[in-house]
Protein backbone atom coordinates (compact mmCIF):
# COMPACT_ATOMS: atom_id res chain seq x y z
CA UNK A 1 0.00 0.00 0.00
CA UNK A 2 2.56 2.57 -1.02
CA UNK A 3 1.68 6.22 -0.99
CA UNK A 4 2.78 6.58 -4.57
CA UNK A 5 0.36 3.87 -5.67
CA UNK A 6 -2.53 5.46 -3.81
CA UNK A 7 -1.81 8.84 -5.42
CA UNK A 8 -1.60 7.14 -8.79
CA UNK A 9 -5.06 5.51 -8.52
CA UNK A 10 -6.70 8.36 -6.60
CA UNK A 11 -6.99 10.45 -9.77
CA UNK A 12 -9.17 8.07 -11.78
CA UNK A 13 -11.11 7.04 -8.67
CA UNK A 14 -12.02 10.61 -7.85
CA UNK A 15 -13.07 10.90 -11.46
CA UNK A 16 -15.41 7.97 -10.81
CA UNK A 17 -16.58 9.60 -7.59
CA UNK A 18 -17.70 12.57 -9.67
CA UNK A 19 -20.25 10.34 -11.42
CA UNK A 20 -21.36 9.08 -8.01
CA UNK A 21 -21.83 12.61 -6.67
CA UNK A 22 -23.56 13.75 -9.85
CA UNK A 23 -26.05 10.87 -9.67
CA UNK A 24 -26.60 11.54 -5.97
CA UNK A 25 -27.38 15.22 -6.54
CA UNK A 26 -29.72 14.57 -9.49
CA UNK A 27 -31.64 11.91 -7.58
CA UNK A 28 -31.94 13.90 -4.34
CA UNK A 29 -33.03 17.08 -6.08
CA UNK A 30 -35.72 15.33 -8.13
CA UNK A 31 -36.91 12.48 -5.89
CA UNK A 32 -37.72 14.64 -2.84
CA UNK A 33 -40.24 16.84 -4.71
CA UNK A 34 -41.54 13.71 -6.44
CA UNK A 35 -42.04 12.03 -3.06
CA UNK A 36 -43.82 15.14 -1.79
CA UNK A 37 -46.13 15.14 -4.78
CA UNK A 38 -46.88 11.42 -4.47
CA UNK A 39 -47.70 11.83 -0.75
CA UNK A 40 -50.19 14.56 -1.54
CA UNK A 41 -51.72 12.59 -4.41
CA UNK A 42 -51.97 9.49 -2.19
CA UNK A 43 -54.00 11.60 0.27
CA UNK A 44 -56.14 13.05 -2.50
CA UNK A 45 -59.89 12.66 -2.43
CA UNK A 46 -59.87 11.72 -6.11
CA UNK A 47 -59.82 7.97 -5.58
CA UNK A 48 -58.30 6.74 -8.86
CA UNK A 49 -55.38 9.16 -8.41
CA UNK A 50 -54.82 8.09 -4.81
CA UNK A 51 -54.99 4.45 -5.89
CA UNK A 52 -52.42 5.12 -8.60
CA UNK A 53 -50.04 6.72 -6.09
CA UNK A 54 -50.38 3.78 -3.69
CA UNK A 55 -49.76 1.30 -6.50
CA UNK A 56 -46.67 3.22 -7.55
CA UNK A 57 -45.31 3.17 -3.99
CA UNK A 58 -46.11 -0.52 -3.65
CA UNK A 59 -44.36 -1.49 -6.89
CA UNK A 60 -41.25 0.62 -6.31
CA UNK A 61 -40.83 -0.52 -2.71
CA UNK A 62 -41.80 -4.10 -3.41
CA UNK A 63 -39.23 -4.90 -6.09
CA UNK A 64 -35.42 -4.78 -5.93
CA UNK A 65 -33.78 -1.53 -6.94
CA UNK A 66 -31.33 -3.57 -9.01
CA UNK A 67 -34.20 -5.09 -10.99
CA UNK A 68 -35.60 -1.62 -11.60
CA UNK A 69 -32.24 -0.34 -12.86
CA UNK A 70 -31.82 -3.30 -15.20
CA UNK A 71 -35.39 -2.76 -16.38
CA UNK A 72 -34.81 0.92 -17.24
CA UNK A 73 -31.36 0.37 -18.79
CA UNK A 74 -31.88 -2.85 -20.70
CA UNK A 75 -35.59 -3.74 -20.45
CA UNK A 76 -37.30 -0.67 -21.86
CA UNK A 77 -35.73 -0.91 -25.36
CA UNK A 78 -36.98 -4.50 -25.61
CA UNK A 79 -40.65 -3.51 -25.34
CA UNK A 80 -42.32 -4.23 -28.71
CA UNK A 81 -43.18 -1.27 -30.96
CA UNK A 82 -42.41 1.57 -28.50
CA UNK A 83 -39.11 0.12 -27.27
CA UNK A 84 -37.01 1.77 -29.94
CA UNK A 85 -38.14 5.19 -28.71
CA UNK A 86 -37.13 4.35 -25.14
CA UNK A 87 -33.43 3.91 -25.69
CA UNK A 88 -31.65 6.26 -23.31
CA UNK A 89 -28.14 6.99 -22.29
CA UNK A 90 -27.46 4.37 -19.59
CA UNK A 91 -26.64 6.98 -16.96
CA UNK A 92 -29.91 8.78 -17.69
CA UNK A 93 -31.87 5.53 -17.60
CA UNK A 94 -30.29 4.55 -14.29
CA UNK A 95 -30.91 8.04 -12.85
CA UNK A 96 -34.57 7.71 -13.84
CA UNK A 97 -34.77 4.36 -12.03
CA UNK A 98 -33.16 5.84 -8.92
CA UNK A 99 -35.47 8.87 -8.93
CA UNK A 100 -38.60 6.74 -9.22
CA UNK A 101 -37.41 4.33 -6.54
CA UNK A 102 -36.33 6.99 -4.05
CA UNK A 103 -39.44 9.06 -4.81
CA UNK A 104 -41.53 6.19 -3.48
CA UNK A 105 -39.47 5.91 -0.30
CA UNK A 106 -39.57 9.67 0.29
CA UNK A 107 -43.34 9.58 -0.26
CA UNK A 108 -43.66 7.08 2.58
CA UNK A 109 -41.37 9.11 4.83
CA UNK A 110 -43.40 12.27 4.21
CA UNK A 111 -46.67 10.40 4.76
CA UNK A 112 -45.39 9.42 8.19
CA UNK A 113 -44.46 13.05 8.83
CA UNK A 114 -47.93 14.23 7.90
CA UNK A 115 -49.55 11.65 10.19
CA UNK A 116 -47.57 13.03 13.12
CA UNK A 117 -49.13 16.49 12.82
CA UNK A 118 -51.97 17.16 15.22
CA UNK A 119 -55.31 18.04 13.65
CA UNK A 120 -55.41 21.05 15.95
CA UNK A 121 -52.85 22.64 13.61
CA UNK A 122 -55.31 22.46 10.72
CA UNK A 123 -58.08 23.79 12.94
CA UNK A 124 -56.05 26.72 14.23
CA UNK A 125 -55.01 27.67 10.68
CA UNK A 126 -58.57 27.39 9.42
CA UNK A 127 -59.98 29.57 12.18
CA UNK A 128 -57.27 32.14 11.41
CA UNK A 129 -58.62 32.34 7.87
CA UNK A 130 -55.91 30.46 5.98
CA UNK A 131 -56.99 28.51 2.92
CA UNK A 132 -56.19 24.81 2.63
CA UNK A 133 -53.27 25.56 0.33
CA UNK A 134 -51.90 28.29 2.62
CA UNK A 135 -52.24 25.94 5.59
CA UNK A 136 -50.37 23.23 3.76
CA UNK A 137 -47.56 25.55 2.75
CA UNK A 138 -47.11 27.62 5.87
CA UNK A 139 -48.11 25.27 8.65
CA UNK A 140 -48.12 21.63 7.64
CA UNK A 141 -45.16 21.18 5.28
CA UNK A 142 -42.73 23.08 7.49
CA UNK A 143 -43.56 20.80 10.43
CA UNK A 144 -43.63 17.70 8.27
CA UNK A 145 -40.10 18.32 6.99
CA UNK A 146 -38.86 18.74 10.54
CA UNK A 147 -40.38 15.44 11.62
CA UNK A 148 -39.15 13.69 8.47
CA UNK A 149 -35.61 15.09 8.66
CA UNK A 150 -33.89 12.15 10.45
CA UNK A 151 -35.50 9.67 8.06
CA UNK A 152 -34.55 11.81 5.06
CA UNK A 153 -30.96 11.90 6.33
CA UNK A 154 -30.95 8.13 6.65
CA UNK A 155 -32.35 7.68 3.16
CA UNK A 156 -29.80 10.08 1.68
CA UNK A 157 -26.93 8.12 3.16
CA UNK A 158 -28.41 4.93 1.78
CA UNK A 159 -28.55 6.61 -1.62
CA UNK A 160 -24.81 7.37 -1.55
CA UNK A 161 -24.13 3.67 -1.11
CA UNK A 162 -26.81 2.58 -3.60
CA UNK A 163 -25.09 4.58 -6.34
CA UNK A 164 -22.62 1.67 -6.43
CA UNK A 165 -25.38 -0.27 -8.22
CA UNK A 166 -24.36 1.68 -11.32
CA UNK A 167 -21.63 -0.97 -11.47
CA UNK A 168 -24.27 -3.53 -12.46
CA UNK A 169 -25.44 -1.51 -15.46
CA UNK A 170 -21.88 -0.78 -16.51
CA UNK A 171 -21.88 2.96 -15.96
CA UNK A 172 -18.35 3.81 -14.89
CA UNK A 173 -18.27 5.25 -11.38
CA UNK A 174 -16.23 4.96 -8.20
CA UNK A 175 -16.69 1.25 -7.55
CA UNK A 176 -16.17 0.42 -11.20
CA UNK A 177 -12.76 2.16 -11.20
CA UNK A 178 -11.81 0.40 -7.97
CA UNK A 179 -12.69 -3.04 -9.36
CA UNK A 180 -10.74 -2.36 -12.55
CA UNK A 181 -7.67 -1.34 -10.56
CA UNK A 182 -7.91 -4.40 -8.30
CA UNK A 183 -8.05 -6.73 -11.30
CA UNK A 184 -5.23 -4.95 -13.11
CA UNK A 185 -2.80 -4.45 -10.23
CA UNK A 186 -3.46 -7.55 -8.07
CA UNK A 187 -3.94 -5.50 -4.89
CA UNK A 188 -6.78 -4.81 -2.45
CA UNK A 189 -5.78 -1.17 -1.95
CA UNK A 190 -8.27 0.32 -4.46
CA UNK A 191 -11.18 -1.21 -2.51
CA UNK A 192 -9.88 0.39 0.69
CA UNK A 193 -9.49 3.75 -1.06
CA UNK A 194 -13.03 3.45 -2.47
CA UNK A 195 -14.34 2.66 1.01
CA UNK A 196 -12.64 5.76 2.40
CA UNK A 197 -14.11 7.94 -0.35
CA UNK A 198 -17.63 6.60 0.40
CA UNK A 199 -17.05 7.25 4.09
CA UNK A 200 -15.97 10.83 3.37
CA UNK A 201 -19.14 11.41 1.33
CA UNK A 202 -21.42 10.00 4.01
CA UNK A 203 -19.54 11.99 6.65
CA UNK A 204 -20.26 15.23 4.80
CA UNK A 205 -23.94 14.26 4.57
CA UNK A 206 -24.14 13.27 8.22
CA UNK A 207 -22.68 16.60 9.31
CA UNK A 208 -24.95 18.49 6.93
CA UNK A 209 -28.10 16.86 8.31
CA UNK A 210 -26.95 17.29 11.91
CA UNK A 211 -26.63 20.98 11.14
CA UNK A 212 -30.11 21.07 9.58
CA UNK A 213 -31.63 19.29 12.56
CA UNK A 214 -30.02 21.80 14.90
CA UNK A 215 -31.14 24.71 12.77
CA UNK A 216 -34.76 23.47 12.76
CA UNK A 217 -35.01 22.54 16.40
CA UNK A 218 -37.59 25.24 17.17
CA UNK A 219 -36.30 25.91 20.65
Amino acid sequence: MSIDYIIQIAGPMLEGARTTVLLFLIVIVLSIPLGMLVTLVAKSRIKPLAWLAHTYIYVMRGTPLLLQLLFFCFGLPQIPVIGEYLVMDRFAAAALGFILNYGAYFAEIFRGGLLSIDKGQHEAAKVLGLSKWQTLRKVILAQMFRVALPAVANESITLVKDTALLYAVAVPELLNYAKTAVNRDFTVTPFVVAGIIYLLMTLVLTLFFKLLEKRFKFE
Binding site: G120, A124, K126, V127, L128, G129, L130, V139, F218, E219
Partner: protein, 247 residues
Protein backbone atom coordinates in the same frame (compact mmCIF):
# COMPACT_ATOMS: atom_id res chain seq x y z
CA UNK B 1 -79.72 46.04 19.83
CA UNK B 2 -79.59 43.36 17.17
CA UNK B 3 -77.83 40.09 17.77
CA UNK B 4 -74.28 39.44 16.65
CA UNK B 5 -74.76 35.68 16.85
CA UNK B 6 -78.06 34.02 16.11
CA UNK B 7 -78.42 30.25 16.30
CA UNK B 8 -81.69 28.55 15.40
CA UNK B 9 -82.54 24.91 16.06
CA UNK B 10 -78.95 23.82 15.62
CA UNK B 11 -78.77 20.09 15.33
CA UNK B 12 -76.04 17.51 14.85
CA UNK B 13 -76.34 13.78 14.86
CA UNK B 14 -74.04 10.84 14.26
CA UNK B 15 -76.38 8.14 12.99
CA UNK B 16 -79.04 7.81 15.66
CA UNK B 17 -77.01 9.69 18.28
CA UNK B 18 -78.06 13.33 18.69
CA UNK B 19 -75.05 15.36 19.80
CA UNK B 20 -76.90 18.66 19.52
CA UNK B 21 -80.67 18.85 19.75
CA UNK B 22 -82.45 21.94 18.48
CA UNK B 23 -80.19 24.52 20.09
CA UNK B 24 -81.47 28.07 19.79
CA UNK B 25 -79.89 31.18 21.25
CA UNK B 26 -78.77 34.72 20.48
CA UNK B 27 -75.81 36.72 21.66
CA UNK B 28 -75.78 40.52 21.72
CA UNK B 29 -72.67 42.58 20.91
CA UNK B 30 -70.44 42.91 23.96
CA UNK B 31 -72.13 40.08 25.77
CA UNK B 32 -70.12 37.41 27.58
CA UNK B 33 -71.74 33.98 27.62
CA UNK B 34 -70.34 31.16 29.72
CA UNK B 35 -71.31 27.63 28.72
CA UNK B 36 -71.15 25.05 31.48
CA UNK B 37 -72.28 21.46 31.72
CA UNK B 38 -71.03 17.91 32.08
CA UNK B 39 -68.51 16.33 29.70
CA UNK B 40 -70.13 15.04 26.54
CA UNK B 41 -73.03 17.45 26.79
CA UNK B 42 -72.18 19.01 23.42
CA UNK B 43 -70.62 22.28 24.66
CA UNK B 44 -67.51 22.09 22.50
CA UNK B 45 -69.39 20.74 19.50
CA UNK B 46 -71.80 23.66 19.68
CA UNK B 47 -68.94 26.16 19.90
CA UNK B 48 -66.95 24.54 17.10
CA UNK B 49 -69.95 24.49 14.77
CA UNK B 50 -69.97 28.31 14.95
CA UNK B 51 -66.68 28.40 13.03
CA UNK B 52 -67.34 25.39 10.81
CA UNK B 53 -64.97 23.06 12.64
CA UNK B 54 -67.93 20.70 12.89
CA UNK B 55 -70.50 19.88 10.25
CA UNK B 56 -74.07 20.28 11.44
CA UNK B 57 -77.07 18.27 10.31
CA UNK B 58 -79.78 20.81 10.92
CA UNK B 59 -80.57 24.39 11.90
CA UNK B 60 -79.17 27.79 11.02
CA UNK B 61 -76.37 30.08 12.17
CA UNK B 62 -76.25 33.80 11.46
CA UNK B 63 -73.24 35.95 12.35
CA UNK B 64 -73.69 39.72 12.01
CA UNK B 65 -76.93 38.85 10.21
CA UNK B 66 -74.99 36.97 7.53
CA UNK B 67 -75.86 33.36 6.86
CA UNK B 68 -73.12 30.97 7.93
CA UNK B 69 -75.43 27.96 7.78
CA UNK B 70 -79.06 27.53 6.91
CA UNK B 71 -81.20 24.45 7.40
CA UNK B 72 -78.20 22.28 8.15
CA UNK B 73 -76.10 23.42 5.21
CA UNK B 74 -73.08 25.69 5.49
CA UNK B 75 -72.51 28.51 3.00
CA UNK B 76 -69.78 28.19 0.35
CA UNK B 77 -66.17 28.17 1.48
CA UNK B 78 -65.54 31.80 0.46
CA UNK B 79 -68.56 32.97 2.47
CA UNK B 80 -67.53 30.81 5.41
CA UNK B 81 -64.07 32.32 5.39
CA UNK B 82 -65.49 35.81 5.07
CA UNK B 83 -67.82 35.34 8.05
CA UNK B 84 -65.49 33.40 10.34
CA UNK B 85 -62.77 36.02 9.71
CA UNK B 86 -64.64 38.17 12.22
CA UNK B 87 -64.36 35.46 14.86
CA UNK B 88 -61.37 34.27 16.84
CA UNK B 89 -61.06 30.96 18.59
CA UNK B 90 -58.94 29.79 21.49
CA UNK B 91 -58.49 26.05 21.95
CA UNK B 92 -58.06 23.88 25.00
CA UNK B 93 -54.69 22.62 23.75
CA UNK B 94 -53.54 26.04 22.45
CA UNK B 95 -52.70 24.72 18.97
CA UNK B 96 -49.80 27.12 18.59
CA UNK B 97 -47.59 26.58 15.55
CA UNK B 98 -44.48 24.92 17.01
CA UNK B 99 -42.23 25.83 14.06
CA UNK B 100 -42.79 29.57 14.48
CA UNK B 101 -41.70 31.95 17.21
CA UNK B 102 -44.29 33.63 19.37
CA UNK B 103 -44.23 36.65 17.09
CA UNK B 104 -44.37 34.34 14.06
CA UNK B 105 -47.48 32.70 15.47
CA UNK B 106 -49.19 36.06 15.83
CA UNK B 107 -48.16 37.37 12.43
CA UNK B 108 -48.58 34.29 10.22
CA UNK B 109 -52.25 34.80 9.39
CA UNK B 110 -52.22 38.59 8.84
CA UNK B 111 -49.03 38.36 6.78
CA UNK B 112 -50.46 35.53 4.68
CA UNK B 113 -53.78 37.27 4.16
CA UNK B 114 -51.95 40.50 3.22
CA UNK B 115 -54.69 42.93 4.10
CA UNK B 116 -52.34 45.26 5.96
CA UNK B 117 -48.78 46.49 5.66
CA UNK B 118 -46.14 44.58 7.56
CA UNK B 119 -45.38 47.60 9.77
CA UNK B 120 -48.99 47.71 10.92
CA UNK B 121 -48.91 43.97 11.59
CA UNK B 122 -45.62 44.13 13.50
CA UNK B 123 -46.84 47.06 15.59
CA UNK B 124 -50.01 45.23 16.53
CA UNK B 125 -48.25 42.00 17.46
CA UNK B 126 -45.96 43.97 19.78
CA UNK B 127 -48.96 45.75 21.27
CA UNK B 128 -50.91 42.51 21.82
CA UNK B 129 -47.95 40.68 23.32
CA UNK B 130 -47.54 43.56 25.74
CA UNK B 131 -51.23 43.35 26.54
CA UNK B 132 -51.00 39.67 27.49
CA UNK B 133 -47.74 40.33 29.36
CA UNK B 134 -45.41 38.43 27.03
CA UNK B 135 -43.52 41.16 25.16
CA UNK B 136 -40.25 39.64 26.33
CA UNK B 137 -41.13 36.26 24.77
CA UNK B 138 -41.63 37.51 21.20
CA UNK B 139 -38.64 35.66 19.75
CA UNK B 140 -39.03 32.45 21.70
CA UNK B 141 -40.51 29.22 20.31
CA UNK B 142 -43.69 27.86 21.93
CA UNK B 143 -41.86 24.78 23.25
CA UNK B 144 -40.08 27.06 25.72
CA UNK B 145 -43.29 28.46 27.24
CA UNK B 146 -45.42 27.30 30.16
CA UNK B 147 -49.03 26.29 29.49
CA UNK B 148 -50.37 29.57 30.79
CA UNK B 149 -47.97 31.52 28.59
CA UNK B 150 -48.93 29.40 25.57
CA UNK B 151 -52.59 30.11 26.11
CA UNK B 152 -51.94 33.84 26.43
CA UNK B 153 -50.03 33.71 23.12
CA UNK B 154 -52.99 31.87 21.60
CA UNK B 155 -55.33 34.63 22.77
CA UNK B 156 -53.04 37.31 21.34
CA UNK B 157 -52.90 35.37 18.08
CA UNK B 158 -56.69 35.22 17.91
CA UNK B 159 -56.82 38.99 18.48
CA UNK B 160 -54.43 39.75 15.62
CA UNK B 161 -57.25 39.72 13.07
CA UNK B 162 -59.32 42.19 15.11
CA UNK B 163 -62.23 39.82 15.67
CA UNK B 164 -65.62 41.00 16.91
CA UNK B 165 -66.30 37.69 18.57
CA UNK B 166 -64.00 35.41 20.56
CA UNK B 167 -64.80 31.78 21.24
CA UNK B 168 -63.01 29.91 24.03
CA UNK B 169 -63.11 26.12 24.14
CA UNK B 170 -62.15 25.20 27.72
CA UNK B 171 -59.20 27.59 27.71
CA UNK B 172 -57.88 26.54 31.11
CA UNK B 173 -58.71 22.81 31.16
CA UNK B 174 -55.24 21.75 30.02
CA UNK B 175 -53.45 24.00 32.53
CA UNK B 176 -52.04 23.31 35.96
CA UNK B 177 -54.30 24.97 38.52
CA UNK B 178 -51.69 27.59 39.44
CA UNK B 179 -51.51 28.74 35.80
CA UNK B 180 -55.22 29.31 35.18
CA UNK B 181 -55.24 32.70 36.91
CA UNK B 182 -53.01 34.45 34.38
CA UNK B 183 -55.20 33.25 31.49
CA UNK B 184 -58.48 34.12 33.20
CA UNK B 185 -57.13 37.61 33.94
CA UNK B 186 -56.59 38.21 30.21
CA UNK B 187 -60.11 36.99 29.38
CA UNK B 188 -61.55 39.17 32.12
CA UNK B 189 -59.76 42.20 30.71
CA UNK B 190 -61.28 41.45 27.28
CA UNK B 191 -64.70 41.27 28.90
CA UNK B 192 -64.14 44.72 30.39
CA UNK B 193 -63.30 45.97 26.91
CA UNK B 194 -66.70 44.72 25.75
CA UNK B 195 -65.47 41.90 23.53
CA UNK B 196 -68.28 39.54 22.60
CA UNK B 197 -67.32 36.14 23.92
CA UNK B 198 -68.63 32.62 24.32
CA UNK B 199 -66.59 30.69 26.84
CA UNK B 200 -66.97 26.97 27.38
CA UNK B 201 -65.52 26.43 30.83
CA UNK B 202 -65.33 24.31 33.95
CA UNK B 203 -64.28 27.29 36.06
CA UNK B 204 -67.54 27.99 37.89
CA UNK B 205 -66.27 30.94 39.90
CA UNK B 206 -64.92 32.52 36.77
CA UNK B 207 -68.19 31.96 34.90
CA UNK B 208 -70.13 33.52 37.76
CA UNK B 209 -67.78 36.52 37.84
CA UNK B 210 -67.28 37.36 34.23
CA UNK B 211 -70.37 36.18 32.35
CA UNK B 212 -73.46 38.21 31.57
CA UNK B 213 -75.34 35.02 30.85
CA UNK B 214 -74.76 31.36 31.58
CA UNK B 215 -75.94 28.40 29.51
CA UNK B 216 -76.17 25.08 31.27
CA UNK B 217 -75.87 22.40 28.61
CA UNK B 218 -76.83 18.81 29.22
CA UNK B 219 -77.39 15.95 26.85
CA UNK B 220 -77.10 18.02 23.65
CA UNK B 221 -79.38 20.88 24.62
CA UNK B 222 -79.30 24.14 26.54
CA UNK B 223 -81.22 22.87 29.54
CA UNK B 224 -81.24 26.14 31.40
CA UNK B 225 -79.96 29.64 30.77
CA UNK B 226 -79.99 32.89 32.67
CA UNK B 227 -77.87 35.38 34.53
CA UNK B 228 -75.11 33.98 36.76
CA UNK B 229 -77.26 34.89 39.76
CA UNK B 230 -80.14 32.80 38.45
CA UNK B 231 -78.09 29.80 37.36
CA UNK B 232 -75.74 29.63 40.33
CA UNK B 233 -78.05 31.17 42.96
CA UNK B 234 -81.38 29.70 42.07
CA UNK B 235 -81.21 26.95 39.44
CA UNK B 236 -84.63 25.78 38.31
CA UNK B 237 -83.80 22.26 37.17
CA UNK B 238 -82.81 19.32 39.29
CA UNK B 239 -80.03 18.35 36.84
CA UNK B 240 -78.54 21.86 36.98
CA UNK B 241 -78.44 21.63 40.77
CA UNK B 242 -76.89 18.14 40.59
CA UNK B 243 -74.22 19.35 38.21
CA UNK B 244 -73.39 22.45 40.25
CA UNK B 245 -73.14 20.43 43.44
CA UNK B 246 -70.62 18.10 41.83
CA UNK B 247 -68.39 20.90 40.63
Amino acid sequence: MSSIIEVKQLQKSFGSLDVLKQITFEVKPGEVVAVIGPSGSGKSTMLRSLVHLEEITGGSIFIHGKTLAENGKYAGSAAIRDITATMGMVFQHFNLFPHLTVRGNLELAPRTLKRESSQVIAARSTELLTKVGLADKADVYPSMLSGGQKQRVAIARALMLNPDILLFDEPTSALDPELTGEVLRVIRQLAEENMTMIIVTHEMNFARDVADRVFFMDNGEIAESGTPEQIFGNPQLERTRTFLNQE
